[in-house]
Symmetry: C3
Subunit: 451 residues, 3 copies
Amino acid sequence: MISTMTTRFTADTEFLGALFDELFPIGRSISGPGLRKTLGIFARYMPLEIERLESGQQVFDWVLPPEWTLRGATLRGPGGDTIADAARSSLEVVNYSEGVDRKLNLAELLPHLHSIPRLPDAIPYVTSYYKRSWGFCLPDRVLETLPKGEYHAHIDADLEPGGLEFGHCVIDGESGAEILLSSYVCHPSLANNELSGPLVLLGLFDRIRRWPRRRFSYRFLLNPETIGSLCFLDRYGDHLRQTLEAGLVLTCLGGPVPHLSYKLSRRGTSLLDRVILQTPRERVALRSFDPRSGSDERQFCSPGFNLPVGQIARTVYGEYDGYHNSLDDKAFMGIKPLVASIDEIERLLLQVEIAGTFRNLSPFGEPQLGRRDLYPNTNSDKTRNHSADSVLDSRVFLGRVLMILNYGDGEHDMLDIARRCECSLDDLREVIERLEALGLLVHDHGRARTP
Amino acid sequence: MISTMTTRFTADTEFLGALFDELFPIGRSISGPGLRKTLGIFARYMPLEIERLESGQQVFDWVLPPEWTLRGATLRGPGGDTIADAARSSLEVVNYSEGVDRKLNLAELLPHLHSIPRLPDAIPYVTSYYKRSWGFCLPDRVLETLPKGEYHAHIDADLEPGGLEFGHCVIDGESGAEILLSSYVCHPSLANNELSGPLVLLGLFDRIRRWPRRRFSYRFLLNPETIGSLCFLDRYGDHLRQTLEAGLVLTCLGGPVPHLSYKLSRRGTSLLDRVILQTPRERVALRSFDPRSGSDERQFCSPGFNLPVGQIARTVYGEYDGYHNSLDDKAFMGIKPLVASIDEIERLLLQVEIAGTFRNLSPFGEPQLGRRDLYPNTNSDKTRNHSADSVLDSRVFLGRVLMILNYGDGEHDMLDIARRCECSLDDLREVIERLEALGLLVHDHGRARTP
Amino acid sequence: MISTMTTRFTADTEFLGALFDELFPIGRSISGPGLRKTLGIFARYMPLEIERLESGQQVFDWVLPPEWTLRGATLRGPGGDTIADAARSSLEVVNYSEGVDRKLNLAELLPHLHSIPRLPDAIPYVTSYYKRSWGFCLPDRVLETLPKGEYHAHIDADLEPGGLEFGHCVIDGESGAEILLSSYVCHPSLANNELSGPLVLLGLFDRIRRWPRRRFSYRFLLNPETIGSLCFLDRYGDHLRQTLEAGLVLTCLGGPVPHLSYKLSRRGTSLLDRVILQTPRERVALRSFDPRSGSDERQFCSPGFNLPVGQIARTVYGEYDGYHNSLDDKAFMGIKPLVASIDEIERLLLQVEIAGTFRNLSPFGEPQLGRRDLYPNTNSDKTRNHSADSVLDSRVFLGRVLMILNYGDGEHDMLDIARRCECSLDDLREVIERLEALGLLVHDHGRARTP
């Protein structure tokens, strides 16, 4: 059941735009107050259960880092002018910098400065989670003109024992078989990568809870990237192995690209993989699974789990100038592309609902369709009282009934049956629902996986 | 053992033509005296065991209908003239009509009349097994000119509790693994569809009993279509699941088409499927399995059974004008095409006999072929005493011996071995039989399936 | 452990040439003093264990023949001139001839003479192991001009109970999973077929014992062809079924052909099959498995064993004039081609060492690469301090690390991973060894097969 304690909302452009503006300035990281504040804002709208693991805890091959608290970070020049200030943008300090309050000359300072020569106006996004370090990020145009003299680097930050959080919730469906929708909330002031994913996730939560029925249960997860999904897997990996039919990491879902782009799961055979494989490429471009780049699907698809989790994007990381720098802002991302992403992913999930295998509950011979008004009781399709069209229509419908019953054996999925019928998956929806209502057909959604 | 109580016969054109003439006029249906009489005629020649199920009995999803007894059916016009009369042709009354004796005007009558506007001279074949109804069938040319006035519809028929029969028999072979040959005997006065199937079935019975050996057992089944095969499956479905290597529904085996046409079983991998897949398409055309049309293979191939049963035809139902109407007569069907069908199907079955997997009984290393006169004892193929041809012949023979022994592992069938030898299946027959006689090879015909 | 009792050697052209000269004249057969002497010569350099089976013993379908001892064989003409003399060449007497001392005229003699009309100067190689017989082999040019008169055939030979030997040894590796290298030592004075195989086998023994590590154990086998490998299988067949990863029968590895030629194992999926399938065809030509011709792989690949054993050659049997006759001499074979064969097969075996499946020992999520210096600790690949090249190099290395860890699941072999990385197998060697050293990866060499 979905808690009614959350605020009512509709995920339209107005709502998403305002929520973006509230979230963007927060200085997020993989732990600390910015992460907690961000999860708290989403928890207003979704009944997120927030879970916490402690610094120093072992999670698979990893040890959770200390929690990072940043109170301020400034770099002042020889003339006292502000070179970098985390209060202007959370990008201007290296994420997970240790505290420092030190005067130093330009040569000493330079190893602590980061810029992008190729993009002289952009401030890069730099992190150092697992090695103690500090630094500032600034436009290369500024860095190039820094004068000699004494600089004052002041980062008011702690790296102390604390914790790390993730939040998740489930909308129950007719079976315990799950679809996972996941995104990450550790990036500071970056828009497409990554506030688009969490906002689209919230939009899909809004849509799916309104569906009249759900054959699957839907789990929504927000975590810090990599380490957060490892923490989630530490607690829920076994559960997912039992119940997960398909999963989707949401990332980079805004920006100018006109179509979605899907990265197949490592297995390449999840329900969603199969739905998208038969979707026209101009609607959803396809990327192979590749462990060398990407987001949390790398953890979900590690060989010890090998979960059926793909990743969906629009303007893909690494393929635009603003990737991991200050050019990735609201103007670049846009709010309308997020709504388009919500629409298109919802449509794919509605297909996932009927794409799987079903079972004919009367599999020994054909069921007697006549007494269920699915078959002409008088075997004469050439009587004068039928128009050619209606005969054709009823024959096509009957043909689909016979195909679904014959191949409804738990081995042929509806995508396969649609191909055999030379029709689309959506063309079968009405027939499927009629047969379900007659008690002749039942969805096979991971029955073996449901406890 | 085949009973010797049956009449001796040879299934030649004369025999089949005379038998056709006896069978054609009988008013057959899925139950009743016409069906019983027809089974009785076949039982003269084959040791058919006739089995009966009772009206009202549940068979899978179906309830057996009452038995239909038709004593006469006439429709007379305003002037007393005969419009339809079941005594002229059993097609002129709707099959399974309830009894009626009623005077009615043309407007009241018309919903009970069936014709084919596209074929104005043909009388259609109409049935209404599972919904109480009555009617007459007549040429559209007649129907179009019926005058107004009072008509007298008289159908002297009962729908009363009774039974439903099918008949079957087995010619035993070396193993209990079975080949099923099936056809249906419920159609009234129609020739190609369906007296051709039962007559070809009888012809194949005649041929197969004459074979010097049979590696498989052959079961012959005649039943009313659909409901009769469901009754058979109700009693023998489990047996077939244990023993059936391949099955064939025989239908529409006469008519003008010069070659056979095979509809693959749902599995597509039965021995017969595999034999026919490698047969030239000009000898046997191929149709995919499709549950939307066809005959009893739809029941055998329902997902609960999924038996390896295909269907073979010549002039396929639905592809000729006379399908399900009075144009389907002896002249259209012909008797010679039936004999050609018997010849060609027998040839396919003879291939099925050797197409499967065999096992090398001396599989550890090559057997010592020299002491069995399968290998030259002096390793010198270039002596002056051999002509090149005989060396080549003996080498080809030896090569086939080595191929069959090496791939005779129960996993590679003889079709595969023939492809590897670049020869035909028939080219291997002599080698197979030599190795069987030497005790080096044994047919693998469903050993695991034989009790 | 390799015994140190053997003579030190380096398998260079000088060593191999001298050893060839010692071996060539010996009158070898499938049993007897020639076979024993030959095995003794190889045992100087390899710690061969010589095993013996007795005449008359049943080995699978075979009975071991009596041992053949030849002391001399001469055929003298009417004028006392020497027509054939086994002291000139061991080919001049039919191998396994029974003893004879008889005077006979030309007509009586002719059935005992063998020549090759197509090659009038060549002496053929003829055997009659399993049927008592005797004969001489001579050039057709000589045979054609034999005058009438009385001939004296004298073969001083015994066929008495004795034994039959093979020899084998193992170089241990990190696992008990084995690679088998086998050749045969029953041919008398023939060079390419067959002294090349045993000499190349000895060369590979020399190379492999020098490797710094071996993931597999390597077994070296020398036996009389066919019957000897059956004897070996009789004793070690079960062991090979448990431990064999790949095997290679060495034959015809000299001669003029510039590249190797590999005959796939019957399975076609051994580690060596897979390595060679992705090797350029100009380096190693490919032959399908075929039981109709070849050497001991026919026994190893008989269906009862179906071991993963292929066969490698250079100038293939049956494809050159000198096959099985006196034209197959040292000049035709050459010594340099043997060294080239050793080099090339060693290279293939070095690939086999890393071509198989490995297992990521930290498969739940990605391991934390940063603390193992495999991942940049500061996430900023655009700092001014790196050249583009070094960034690229480290990224390629890191990408290979991630690919190997993700697909290191025991199901994807390194050949597959190399294809996914678009690099060669050798390109992965450094990455594999780094990950092994870090304890993140372990070779999967038949762990299930190792006791």
